[in-house]
Amino acid sequence: MTAPLALDAALALLTLGVAAWTVATRQNFAAVIGFVAYGLLLALSWQRLGSVDVALTEAALGSGVTGAVLIAAVSRPPRAAGRAAPPGPRVRLAAALLSALVALALAALVLTPPEPAPSLAAAAAAHLPELGLGNPVTAVLMAYRGIDTLLEKIVLLLALLAAWSLAPDRFWTGASAAWDGAPPGGALTLLARFLPPIGVVAAVYLLWVSADEPGGAFQGGAVLAAMWLLAMMAGLLRAPEAGSPLLRRLVAAGPAVFLAVGVLGFALPGGFLSYPTGFEKPVIVLVEVPVTLSIAVVLGLLVAGAPGRPPRKEGQS
């Protein structure tokens, strides 16, 4: 067996083991940490499959930011004693059999793939020079299927609205109660002072190189969100109030600019979300910058959760 294949095999076995253990373990905290490890391993697998764009997203979002949400939830002290009763052995056996059946059916599909493999790679490559882009994944996200990316921004907004609306009435437009803004000091403060500036540079870099190399608005936005959360956890930044006008503008900026450019497409080149000929790349960059900021803010707010303290008085913000 060659060394690269050995690496792939080790990675696959490890991922499988961690996933099975995440389901099997009794302790919720252990399961959450297992899931964070699972995300890291998946990111490595994506890199081995040659999809570095996805690997970056999985590492930053699937493992990093999702992990923060889950770790925060599992760290809450429980209210009541006792546990939910697990289903009986017959139900579990049936679930195991059905899951195995689905897995086997999928495996049959993987082992008998269509020949030749269907691919849109050539079609994606055909128009790259006109867009001025070298990274086909960015081209699909920002140009060919820009509508998906736009709608996905809307999904993020809806999720944030839904999370906010879980707050009791008296906390509406208040800040998240997760962090009280008191710096615990020591190593955390040091880390939160040094790391975010580097992280911001890295996020800008990811956004900048995404025209030709792996990277992009999601990856940059997720890194930015992580840095913001780090500063809030260290008490260096206050959790923002949901009613803050600046915050609301930041949240809306990305989808708004994207939508405006899309509507402008009717006037100039003649269709929704079509970019003016000759200016494709500048327009894409123009859209990506506010989109990255909005993604970062919404991700951070989703981790912070529903507002949990009353809003401060008017004019005090």
Binding site: L5, A12, L16, A19, T22, V23, N28, F29, A31, V32, F35, L42, S45, L49, G50, S51, D53, V54, L61, G62, T66, L70, V74, R76, R79, A80, A81, R83, A84, P86, P87, V91, R92, L98, S99, V102, A103, V110, P113, A117, P118, S119, A121, A122, A124, A125, V137, V140, L141, Y144, R145, E152, A159, A162, A163, L166, G216, F218, G305, A306
Partner: protein, 106 residues
């Protein structure tokens, strides 16, 4: 066995594990985790098909990759919302089944 097939079989197993966890674990937090395990497997299947569709000088078909990036963001939004709902419901009802923590005596 080539790497794409290896990761393809891994993805199938992950889907199976995720489905089982979704059905067999009663706690909401564990269902959310299992749902994400399942999602990871489904996304990895897309990665395998992207790899098989390599061409035009790219390491993989870019369309499934872009779909997965979009999917990851939506899956995060769903996860964050599900966690927020579970926590709020617990605060409201005091139902032990919704407790995410393990208790102090661990």
């Amino acid at each position: 066995m080539n790497p794409a097939t290896l990761y393809g079989l891994l993805a199938c197993a992950l889907v199976g594990i995720g489905l089982y966890g979704l059905a067999a674990r009663p706690e909401p937090l564990r269902k959310i985790l299992a749902f994400n395990l399942l999602g990871g497997g489904v996304f990895l299947l897309f990665g395998v098909f992207a790899r098989r569709g390599a061409g035009a000088g790219f390491a993989g078909d870019p369309v499934p990759q872009a779909l997965v990036i979009t999917g990851l963001v939506v899956s995060f939004a769903a996860t964050a919302l599900a966690v927020a709902l579970a926590l709020r419901l617990r605060d409201e009802t005091g139902d032990a089944a919704l407790d995410a923590g393990d208790g102090k005596a661990e």
